[in-house]
Each structure stands twice: as structure tokens, then as C-alpha cells.
Amino acid sequence: MRPLYVRRTACVTTRAARVNGEEIPVVATSDPFLTALYRRLGIDYPRFFKMDGLSKLGFLASELLFWGDASRFLPREDCAVICFSRTSSLDTDRRYQASMRDYPSPSLFVYTLPNIVTAEIAIRNKLYGETSVYICETYNPHQIFRTIRNTFAHQPLRSALAGWTEYDGDTGEAFLMQIETQAASASEPLLSAGFLTTAKHNL
């Protein structure tokens, strides 16, 4: 088994954003926090406004991980996107269900699939690699660690964005890690599930 390293972690909630545990200062505006963060980061990607809550969270966390990476838009197949979630797309499911009373909305229906968040990240960064979503009752570091290792064990991956994406309508959180097979200067080895427990706890 090749060793894995975590280069960077990013966490975006509906109230705050952090990279490697450090908070990104965002000046409060009349916009919702995620929109304010989008503007603060100077992103020019109008698709953002079409996304549902789960996708916005995951998208912004991935933006923070790729921040300043000059090669980020080069198409590549050796980077996977792996998300874990408890509530899946249930918030959008409810909104689509409400639209059914009137005229069912095709754009809401598409977001009733929880893997759309992985697609949004793949589309933005031209990632042709594996995209996978797993649903689990809780943030289970053992299962997440095992699944990440299994994903790397069976294909020539060099990196992955992996983590917890959760949105229930009021609160939400995307905690993503940039995982690589090569050690970088500030990266930490991903040796056990314990890392995942500590990393999330420290946020």
C-alpha cells in the first residue's frame, strides 16, 4: 500500500470557512455567507449560483484546496473525488417535492442526486478520475479511511479530494482533504483513521 499524505484541509460551513484550521476572514454582507465567501475569493464561475446547498459547500471547499495551484485546471484522470454524507440530498429532495405540487422543476430534480456535488468539482477542475459518494450514518473515521485507502489501492491515482459533505437546509458543512501519494513540504501522513478524527475535531 502506497503511503498517503494530506497536503491541505478545508472546511466550509454555512457560517465560516477554514483552510488548515485557519479561518478565512469574510466581511458580512447582506448576501448569504456562502455567496459572500464566493465573492471574497474572487471566483468567476456563474454556475455557482445554480448549485444547491450541498454542492455550494463542496464546491467552495474544493476551491479553497486548489487555491493558488497553477496547474489546477489542467485536465487529469489521476485525481479522484470521494464524498461521504449522512443526509445526502434530502434538503433538495424536499424542495423538489414542494415543486411537484405546482410544476416539477427539472433543475431541482437533477440535484436530488447527492453525487452532483462531486460532478460540480470534477467539471470545474476537469477531473476525469473516479467520483464516488458514500452515505453513512455518522462521520465514521474508520470507514472513511478504509474507503479512501481502497480507492487508492486499485488504480494509479496521484491525488484525491475526499471528505464529509453534509447539508440539511439550515446547517451544513463540507470538510475536504487534499490527499496525495507524494509528500509535499507541509503535508502530513495519512496513516490511520485517527488522523481523520483529529483533523475534523481541530476545525
Partner: protein, 383 residues
């Protein structure tokens, strides 16, 4: 890893044998519904006989009142597959892997109370299935839209290779609801007539209900005298659009390349495509197969028999692919008459026979995800 038990529970029957026979004799489970409850237009779909489901579930010792119809279908499918496998599903070395696109989503319609109903969560449904069989391991739940059934088999393959488990119960299920039907209608993806995979006159898909199960056991091929094993699996993304298939078949082509990296295309007996019968999906797969140099291989699609069974499709269609490969037959593509002329593909519309040893299963879904699985027949002289 090899299947030691399987089951298909669909409109065409409640066992793999029943379904396999129906497909071979050219029967379809698709029916015309003039007025499906809550749906404003007539639809064509394939539905599980609910009375038979409840009767069989009761006969198998289950209490229908304790489970939703979706759970009953999944539980019954696993029960039948386990009878064939003859293993103890409660054993700690057995892992459940669950595949469904929308699970018990119909409960949302039952009012505000359902807003906090835990049965809406896929992990909850998977947990109930594992606990019914007294299995204490936390099930793996994959949720990658329409390729989930392939992802579940890939997850099982990886978990078995990692060593902690020796058997994986891979179960997929989806039933129809207003939620799902109205959604596909809003996408203008449904055909008002029986679907016609790969046909030049195809104009959309039909939806179908199914539960299907494969129980895989980890074995060294040389220890297994016969059977078909799942040897490769890959998932790739189009990185193009959240719902529309790539015009270059990008992710699909890359998934095909990945599973054939160490295998010769000369051994391919046939390819079972996703073949939903929408204009764009079938075109996308045709382009991907052409790019991969596989356009002269026999290709079939099974949605003319079952409709698109969503989270069950990857498992159901893999079971029939495995069966056909084992018997050296190539199943016909129900609904296909004549293909697109600009991209010729060798789509089968009658039973074929083959001596070759490998078969491919392809799937594609929303979110630009694509999967390919490679199955290989274990031959006696393998060493």
C-alpha cells in the same frame, strides 16, 4: 471474486432463472399505464407485482407491516440469493453493500410527519436490511445515481481485496414513485412507447422497478472449478455537465480503457451497454465504444425488458451478463431494429452464441459518472 448466489426480482419474475428465461424467450416486463397514480400523462414502465411481493415476503418469514415495499423487495431478493449461496449472512466476515438512487423517497409524499422520518436516509434502509439478517457490520452505501449498481460491485471488490471480509452481499433496489416519475418527465427523458435501445428511432427511456442481489465470495481463480469472476471495475467522470452525457463519451471511454488495460479485447464475447434508449446516452456510448476500438464487438442492451431500474440496474444487468457469459450466449436487445447509420455498432437483436471468455458491463449516469465492469469466465485450464 465470484458470485455464489444471485437473485433478480422484477416484473419478469422473482428469481434469476425466471428472468433469464423471460429474456431469452423475448418477453418484456414493460406495460402501458394510462393513468399512473399522480402522474399527468400515460407512461410505459415495468412494475413489480406488489401482491406477489407481500405473499412471498410473508412466506419467507417476514412481516410486511414492519417494512416499506422497497425494503421488502430488497430483503426478499437477498433471502433468495442467500438460499442459493448457502452462507450465514450474520457472520462477521460478511459485508452488505447497498445501492439505491432514491430509497424510500415515496415517504416524502406522506406529509409533514415524514420530514423527519429516518427511513428517508439510505444508511437507515441499508442498516435495516443488514440487521434483518443479523449482520452487525456497518453496510457500505453507494450513491452515484444510475451507476450505483456498478459502484456497489466495485466497492465490494475492493473491500474483499482489502482482506477483512470474505463475502459481500451486493443488493440494489429502486421502486417507482411520483417523485421519480415526475422528475424524469420534467427532464423530458421518458418515452411514451416501449423504449428502443440503440435504435435510430429511439426517443427516450422507460423506468422500471427491481431488486437484485449478487453475493460475491473472495476466491483464488485456480481454486474455483467454474464460474464467472468480476476481474476489473472502473469509475470515471465526464467532467463536462451535471446531467447531459459528454459528446465525446469522455468518462465512458476512459472507464473502458481502464478496465481493458491488462486484458485483450480479443477475448470479449460481448458488451452489455447502459443503453437507456435516450438519444444522447446511446450516442455517447456509441462514441465511447468507437473511440475504444470496440465498435465491432457484439453489443446488447437490456432496458427493453426491464426499463431503467436505476439503483438495481447495474446489479440486475450484471447478473444476466454473468449468466449469458457462463452459457456462451449473447442476449438480444429487445426493441432494437436498426441503428444510427453514421456510427455503426454491432447491436444484437437475436440470440447469439460465443466461445469467448470475457464480457463488459457499462453504465452511465447523472453527474457525468460512468462505470465499466469486466467479467471473465473461469476456464478449466486456468492456473
Amino acid at each position: 471474486m465470484i458470485p455464489i448466489g444471485d437473485n433478480i426480482l422484477s416484473s419478469l419474475g422473482f428469481s434469476t432463472a425466471e428472468n433469464y428465461r423471460a429474456v431469452q424467450s423475448g418477453r418484456t416486463g414493460l406495460c402501458f399505464y394510462e393513468a399512473y397514480p399522480g402522474i399527468s400523462e400515460p407512461i410505459v414502465a415495468s412494475c413489480i407485482d406488489r401482491t406477489r411481493l407481500d405473499d412471498c415476503f410473508s412466506a419467507a418469514g417476514g412481516n410486511p407491516l414492519e417494512y416499506t415495499p422497497l425494503e421488502r423487495a430488497a430483503l426478499l431478493s437477498v433471502t433468495f440469493a442467500a438460499e442459493q449461496a448457502g452462507i450465514d449472512l450474520a457472520a462477521p466476515e460478511v459485508l452488505f453493500v447497498f445501492s439505491s438512487t432514491k430509497g424510500n423517497i415515496h415517504l416524502l409524499e406522506e406529509g409533514a410527519e415524514a420530514r423527519s422520518d429516518s427511513r428517508l436516509y439510505l444508511w437507515h434502509t441499508a442498516g435495516r436490511i443488514a440487521r434483518y439478517f443479523r449482520n452487525a457490520n456497518e453496510p457500505v452505501v453507494v450513491s452515484n445515481a444510475c451507476i450505483s449498481g456498478a459502484c456497489a460491485q466495485i466497492a465490494a471488490m475492493r473491500e474483499l481485496a482489502a482482506g477483512r471480509f470474505t463475502c459481500a452481499v451486493v443488493v440494489g433496489v429502486d421502486l417507482l414513485s411520483r417523485f421519480i416519475l415526475s422528475g424524469f418527465l420534467s427532464l423530458k427523458a421518458l418515452s411514451p412507447a416501449p423504449c428502443r435501445p440503440f435504435d435510430s428511432e429511439r426517443n427516450g427511456l422507460n423506468l422500471g422497478e427491481a431488486a437484485s442481489t449478487i453475493i460475491y465470495r473472495k476466491v483464488r481463480e485456480e481454486d474455483s472449478p467454474q464460474g464467472v469472476s468480476l476481474v476489473e471495475g472502473a469509475i470515471r467522470n465526464d467532467a463536462n455537465h451535471i446531467s447531459g452525457p459528454s459528446r465525446t463519451g469522455e468518462g465512458c471511454f476512459r472507464a473502458l480503457q481502464a478496465v481493458l488495460k491488462d486484458h485483450s479485447p480479443d477475448d470479449l464475447a460481448f458488451i452489455c451497454a447502459h443503453a437507456t434508449a435516450t438519444a444522447y446516452n446511446d450516442r455517447m456510448e456509441t462514441i465511447a465504444l468507437t473511440r475504444a476500438g470496440l465498435h465491432q464487438k457484439p453489443v446488447n442492451g437490456l432496458k427493453g425488458y426491464f426499463g431503467h431500474t436505476l439503483g438495481a440496474a447495474g446489479i440486475l444487468e450484471s447478473i444476466l451478463t454473468i449468466r449469458a457469459l457462463q452459457d456462451g450466449v449473447i442476449l438480444p436487445t429487445f426493441g432494437f431494429t436498426r441503428g444510427d447509420t453514421d456510427y455503426p455498432l454491432a447491436v444484437t437483436n437475436r440470440m447469439g452464441y460465443t466461445q469467448k471468455t470475457c464480457a463488459l458491463k457499462m453504465l452511465s449516469g447523472f453527474g457525468g459518472c460512468n462505470a465499466a465492469l469486466l467479467f471473465r469466465k473461469i476456464t478449466r485450464h486456468a492456473s
